[in-house]
Amino acid sequence: MSARIGICSAAHLHADSYAACLDGLEGAEFVGVTAEGDEVERTKEKTDEYGTDFYAPDELLARVDGVVVCSTNADHGDWVERAAAAGVDVLCEKPLAPSVTEARAMVEVCESAGVHLGVAMPLRFCQPVRNAKAALDDGALGDVRFLSGTNRGRMPGEWFTDPERAGGGAVVDHTVHIVDAVRWLTGEDVREVYAEIDTRFHDVPVEDCNLLSMELSDGTSFVLDGSWSKPDRWETWGDATLRLVGTDGVVSVNCFGQTIKQTRDTGDAGIRSVYWGSNPDEGLVRDFVDAVAEGRPPLKTGADALDDVAVVEAAYESAERGEPVAVESTAERLRRPERTP
């Protein structure tokens, strides 16, 4: 039997890619899309492109086994709550929520409703990242001592620069992908963050410079540049890279490095690089569909994402205080004895 899948809101542009992956996917039935409020119009406009139908929220949730939530960050919680109430599994666009408190509430509501909550972390399905993981697991690098990553982009505009709907700027948008990849690759958590953030590229009410200097739970150094520093006319949307420096070797991963250089004199004129590598979103959507069908959690769970969101929170705190800030992992928090008043 096919897993019946829907998409809640196309406010996040990644909905386009997930819809394309769902289209004709074996074992999946792409039932339709839904949205609420001012996201309805944009989402309805997408039904032709997606080759699917628009339903009212409750109607869609009644027809599906799983949904992908691609709303603004601020609305993730509402959609997850509604899906959980309808007994529907969820794959939520990243970041799970702008704060650990909200993210934890989402995890808890899904746990008590008995539905699985996953978070869209496509880099775990990026083939170069998987190859690096194989090298790491094989011991080819010795002990990893330093990780240096980037996840830059153009300034995305729209709701992404609205502190209310996005929950922040480049820190919220471009921290969790590489943080998750590093946690997945090394099995370590981030225990300290120092952040240099600012707004220097665009006239927006959120930060667009995001440079983080972190330490993992085993003492490994980890730095990340997640700035919106790519010019509007840059050759593509941005990048995702990671350098792993070990005692026995170095591996550098450029997740979207497989490109063609295209030059057009007419039509959409200009020079751009066109990605031709394997599409990590296909693996992400495949895993979610299989998880729904098999009644198991997806590879990246909401519970695991709490520790990514904690890094985002700590980054803002560090920038505010001008010093490194400790990050308490969920595991540490659970081990900590409750204080008596």
């Binding site: 001592r145 330093f146 240096s148 120092y194 240099e196 600012d198 220097r200 590229f201 665009h202 667009d208 410079c209 440079l211 200097s213 972190m214 330490e215 490994t220 150094s221 980890f222 730095v223 540049d225 700035s227 520093s229 790519k230 010019p231 006319r233 840059w234 420096v245 005692t247 070797g249 170095v250 001008g322 010093e323 490194p324």
Partner: protein
């Protein structure tokens, strides 16, 4: 015409000896080196030059007007002082000194004696860096936002007595590698307000070290300087930058320079390495010699070299304390 007394017989001394052959107003007339390889060095690079084991003896006895210091960092101060006291103009490899106290002594000696003095922050003479500086100054990237620079290498195995691996002497990657980018970024973006460093290091016969320094400049831009001696042996020396501003960006990566490739290594030894008509070291020394001849002050001032060391000192302090370090708290 300047008579150059070269101090040192290692990698950089060889580079400089070769550069002087392309500078009409200078000739290497003497070489002093503690290393026993000095005779072979002179034979190979400057067969006309006199050979000395002692640098001060060379300064006193040889026919030299300029001293070029290409020795391990801790010897820079005494050698520059000795030359300056003899009224000899001095070129000194970077970093100018190992500590701020030594750096201050170097400045004092050169100012007191009035000799022409310059430190080898050669990056300013690399066309790919000089061109970026020119374009940033012309406003072509707008206001700088993030300034990233990388310098990645295997640990240097060519130093005498493995001095690079001794952080007391070399200062490690932050003093020996990152200092190039500290100087360059300060040239481009002005003075630094604070730094925060992560550094990992281990031993493997040689000191392996990888470090990233986040810099906040007084004018607001954020810098990322990544320096490594952790790459495997035989990795080509790699430098890269990405300077992004509110109106555009500039990117460079040596790995993408395909101006001269020699598949299979056929006859590689006979093909000149630098695909530039004038290599950066020659441009650097040519400028210095022109200043000596014409009496002008070199582009790179002793204060520039001092400030680069101050950033490196702050970066090392941050790596050790795990806290951001403000430059206002470092030896000012």
């Amino acid at each position: 015409m300047q008579q150059v007394g070269l101090v040192g017989s290692g990698f950089m001394a060889a580079t400089h000896a070769n550069s002087y052959q392309h500078i009409p107003d200078a000739e290497v007339t003497a070489v002093a080196s503690l290393d026993e390889s000095r005779d072979a060095f002179v034979e190979e690079h400057v067969p006309e030059a006199d050979v000395y084991a002692d640098a001060e003896e060379m300064m006193d006895a040889a026919d030299v007007s300029v001293v070029d210091v290409c020795t391990p960092t801790p010897s820079h101060r005494p050698l520059v002082e000795a030359a300056a006291e003899r009224g000899l103009d001095v070129f000194c490899e970077k970093p100018m000194a190992r500590t701020l106290e030594e750096a201050a002594a170097v400045i004092d000696a050169t100012e007191r004696t009035g000799v022409t003095f310059m430190t080898g922050h050669v990056l300013r003479y690399f066309p790919e860096y000089a061109e970026a500086k020119r374009r940033i100054d012309a406003g072509e990237i707008g206001a700088p936002g993030t300034l990233r620079a990388e310098r990645l290498s295997s640990p240097p195995a060519h130093g005498s007595d493995n001095w690079y691996s001794d952080k007391e002497r070399s200062g490690g990657v932050l003093f020996d590698m990152a200092i190039h980018d500290f100087d360059f970024l300060r040239w481009v973006a002005g003075d630094v307000e604070r730094v925060f460093t992560r550094s990992a290091e281990w031993e493997n016969g040689l000191l392996k070290q990888h470090a990233v320094v986040l810099l906040r400049f007084e004018d607001g831009p954020i810098g990322h300087v990544e320096a490594s001696w952790a790459y495997p042996e035989d990795t080509p020396f790699t430098t890269a930058y990405e300077f992004a501003g509110d109106e555009g960006s500039l990117e460079f990566d040596t790995r993408e320079d395909d101006s001269l490739r020699v598949p299979g290594g056929a006859g590689e030894a006979h093909i000149p390495r630098s695909p530039l008509a004038t290599d950066p070291y020659t441009r650097e020394l040519d400028h210095f010699i022109a200043c000596v001849e014409g009496g002008a002050d070199p582009d790179i001032t002793p204060e520039d070299a001092y400030e680069a060391i101050r950033i490196a000192v702050a970066a090392v302090e941050s790596a050790e304390s795990g806290e951001p370090v403000y430059l206002s708290e470092v030896g000012a």
